[in-house]
């Protein structure tokens, strides 16, 4: 009686592809870019173009949060991909390609901010916020309504930009880009404990700056 039932359960398992050795499984599961990176290393420029197209949205988004200005973010993103092409030989396959790319992108952002100067970056961000819409605090009296709007994103971008680089980068990488503590530690070359502490300090600073937008009066009662 029990024999057919066992066969019915186990048979499909044998039809599945045989699992790869543990290390290969990890690499395969960890890095979806591995094939493209290999092809790029073998000199296939189309593979590099495919990597750019695959990651440009996230790199551009990260740089926009770091720099606060679309033009600067686009220039910095191009610089980041050029640096990636120039220094690609330094990439070691034991970490994810996207982590390496984030490190290159963060460096591009920091270099650009150094060359621009903090004051100019702030002025640009303020200008952009005005171009998008009203940025006064009274424009955000209804957080739910503002949530869907460009105004909220402009406000958030502005408040993020007011954080020091040392706090903004970990917060953006964790809360916007969704990297893990370990990946951020690798990108920023910091200890994991430092990353956790900076994320917390960055969020606290942002929470204070966002004021009514995040106020939670019910929880306090």
């Amino acid at each position: 009686m029990s024999q057919p039932r066992v066969t019915a359960v186990t048979q499909p398992l044998f039809d599945r592809p045989r699992p790869l050795p543990a290390a290969d499984v990890a690499a395969e599961a960890v890095d979806p870019d591995r094939d493209l990176v290999e092809r790029w290393r073998q000199g296939e420029s189309e593979a590099f173009a495919a990597l750019v197209r695959r990651h440009q949205r996230r790199v551009f988004g990260l740089l926009l949060r770091m720099l606060g200005n679309r033009e600067e973010a686009e220039d910095a993103a191009q610089d980041a991909f050029l640096n990636l092409h120039r220094h690609g030989h330094r990439f070691r396959s034991e970490s994810r390609f996207s982590t390496f790319l984030y490190r290159v992108a963060v460096n591009a952002a920091l270099n650009r901010r150094r060359s621009l100067g903090r004051r100019r970056a702030h002025a640009d961000a303020f200008g952009e916020a005005h171009a998008v819409g009203q940025v006064g605090a009274d424009a955000f009296t209804d957080p739910e309504q503002a949530l869907a709007g460009d105004e909220l994103r402009a406000r958030l971008g502005r408040e993020l930009l007011a954080l020091p680089d040392s706090l903004r980068a970990p917060v953006v990488l964790y809360d916007v880009e969704g990297l893990s503590y370990g990946e951020i530690a690798e990108v920023l070359e910091l200890a994991e404990g430092t990353v956790k502490s900076r994320i917390h300090r960055g969020r606290q600073a942002l929470r204070a700056r966002l004021g009514d937008l995040v106020a939670d009066r019910e929880a306090g009662s």
Binding site: F48, R86, S197
Partner: protein, 257 residues
Amino acid sequence: MRHERAARHLSEYLDGTLPARRARQVESHLAACSRCRQALGELRRTTELLWSLRGAEDAPDLSAAVLARIRAGEADPSLAERLRAAAARVWSGAWGAPLATVAVGLAVLAILPRIEIEVSVPGVAAPPELERAAPVARAPRPAPALEARRVRQPLRPSVPEPWRAPSVSVDCWEQPSFEACQERRRSLELALSDTPAFLERVEALPSTQRERWIGELSRFAAETGSATSVAERLRASDDPRAWQMAPRFESTTFDGR
């Protein structure tokens, strides 16, 4: 768990990354602390807003521009990198790359003294008396073949600019101690703008701390690229105490030796 400790762990609690035992401690504190409950709610709201930024912007297609710049040679390795790669090929093996880096570094060091580089501190317009002052410890005159490589101020105006208060370019948020960085920056700006006041500042320090203070300040000056300007300013003073201090700023290299 004490309030301060629980408050420090709120982000990790929110992210679900605390060990189970620690998370239970935070939970029991939250049950008794309305301030922490409020902070947790506001942190959660902050993270939700941040998450809403994810992918919110349309990204331009960069691949065509990037490939065009690569074809134009903008991503080609620099001369130093090409030398390093060539040297690494010669010394293949585990120590090849580090040896190659050392070799290229030594080659650059051998060339450097033959190149005269002018450095300026942003925001500092050299007062006329500094231009007249005899340069101290100048590098040897460049060889004729390297004369053309001399780096000059690219945008030096033909009309002299009015003198502006000097500023030292440094982002103190990036430094380990914000307050110490601010204090050193102010001291350097004082040295660049008002030598007598700077000397008074030094004299006001207890004699046991003076040497260490000057050492830290000169390393900071080297890191921010203002050491040469400070040394020149001290040399240009008519106070012998300033002359004695000038070599401290000239001899400190970027890595703090």
